[in-house]
Assembly symmetry: C2
Homo-oligomer: 266 residues x 2
DNA sequence: ATGTCTTTGTGAACGCGTGCACAAAGATGG
DNA sequence: CCATCTTTGTGCACGCGTTCACAAAGACAT
């Protein structure tokens, strides 16, 4: 759902469906909250409500992990927290590098949710020499030149790309070349990676556009202000030119920053 | 997939599948890039490669929109850009408010991808009185007290929440109360919203955890360092206690900031 | 020990999304 | 005007994910 490569063998890793894996962190968060309130056990119904999912789905998800849980009682919170953490690989420490320390990169560096879940920001990397040495979130920024050495020295296998779109593929290649096998990409680009490397993408602009689509539908169909161009299905040359002439004025390519990413290039 | 409410009627809005809607922005981005290079037409094969998807999938996606495209030739880039933009509702201007101007909120405010795609940051809102009036990305931050008035005055229907987790639900309620019907949530919480309100969630921590899962699998199964606790399926009381005793020391609740969000509370 | 009551775990049905493979459509050249 | 060639649009099959509904399992009271 968020891969860079065209074909992915539907990575059903070990019998645990991908959709289930994506929900485990959700359950873990809800369970952690319960744990902090010293709640000993939860029923699937309660936990599902807290996680915002269907209870049957939750039970089936857990069934892939094993038969934890006691009929008539529910699930032991602490035990389940441990099992999910272990399944997700959160019982070990994952050093992470963030490349591109603009606004977004800095926000990520300051993100508390990383450290509290087994992730550790091992290094911050930026291409701007002026940023080198400057501390962000208590960690000094290092220059891109040292990227490979940083990766290897720290045994980093997870990289976060928060650079402008133009630099993302190049950074990605260097990360992969240095041994990184999992990438979280915030740059609005499709990354090409060799097999065996996982890419997940977070695209703010896309999320907003999806919301806009539903918003437009909610607003109803009657406010069809632009009745000019082809709403039908006749792609005649005439209507095309009309559309092409009418569209750009609206919002398409109004500036040279068509694909500027979430961070300042630095 | 990213809703806050438990039950959603699988919002297949108008015959256009949700999965297709989620890919339209991807196609739009690729098409915009082609448009800037003044490429007149593309084949489904080329465009699919640029967007990182299967060409058959792309053709089927477009078939939901109508029969744009010419057999033997391909798709007219400008025409398609317009059609997709219109379908996504990007031909109109969407005023957006961002609530919670911490690191992440500031990054979002500076995000160029918004303005270039029909979105306009109408206002920045923060609960910290000290931030009021201070300009971020050229826009003065306003105080939460005026939230309702800001929403109504600007006719805002899309809100972005970048506050700490603790404040998210409250902010959400006020946004919805003021008329917002689409929310992009960056706070690590499950939001409860009434029917008719769309919520999409972006959770950095969850993405990383999913990567960690696959990373752990790639590393193989042999490094099973913790051979102590239940790998089998016998949830006996004894093994539970052992697990519960061993786990918390690892990484679960090591601090009181279990769910700190992506921004400083301000 | 037995019965009742709660909650899990899962078999089975259904619907959505994906990808193949091909016929229809149109462009292009002779 | 006809033949050929490219590329679209889609019927079809398959697999994954979701949900229902219920039997099995265990807690708890008597």
């Amino acid at each position: 759902m968020a891969t860079g490569r065209t074909h992915r063998p539907a990575t059903r890793s070990r019998g645990i469906p991908e959709a289930t894996v994506a929900r485990l962190p959700l359950y873990l968060r809800a369970l952690t909250a319960l744990s902090e309130r010293s709640v000993p056990t939860v029923s699937s119904e309660e936990l599902a409500a807290a996680a915002g999912v269907n209870s049957a789905k939750l039970r089936k998800d857990f069934s892939y992990l094993g038969s934890y849980g006691t009929r008539g009682v529910g699930y032991d919170v602490e035990y389940l927290v441990y099992q999910i953490s272990r399944e997700l690989g959160l019982t070990q420490d994952w050093p992470v590098v963030i490349v591109g320390i603009g606004n977004l990169g800095a926000a990520l560096a300051n993100y508390g949710g990383f450290a509290s879940r087994g992730f550790r920001v091992a290094a911050l990397i930026d291409a701007d020499p002026a940023m080198a040495g400057k501390p962000v979130a208590g960690i000094p920024v290092q220059h891109t030149d040292d990227l490979e050495k940083i990766i290897e020295d720290n045994g980093v296998s997870i990289g976060v790309i928060a650079t402008p779109a133009g630099a993302a593929q190049q950074v990605c290649d260097r990360l992969v070349g240095a041994g990184v096998t999992s990438i979280l990409n915030f740059a609005p680009t499709v990354l090409s990676v060799p097999d065996g490397v996982d890419v997940r993408k977070v695209d703010l602009s896309i999320e907003l556009q999806i919301l806009a689509f539903h918003e437009q539908r909610k607003a109803g169909e009657e406010p069809a202000l632009e009745t000019a161009a082809g709403d039908g299905a006749q792609p005649a040359a005439a209507s095309r030119e009309a559309a092409a002439a009418a569209a750009p004025a609206a919002s398409a390519d109004q500036g040279p920053d068509g694909d500027v990413p979430a961070v300042m290039p630095a």
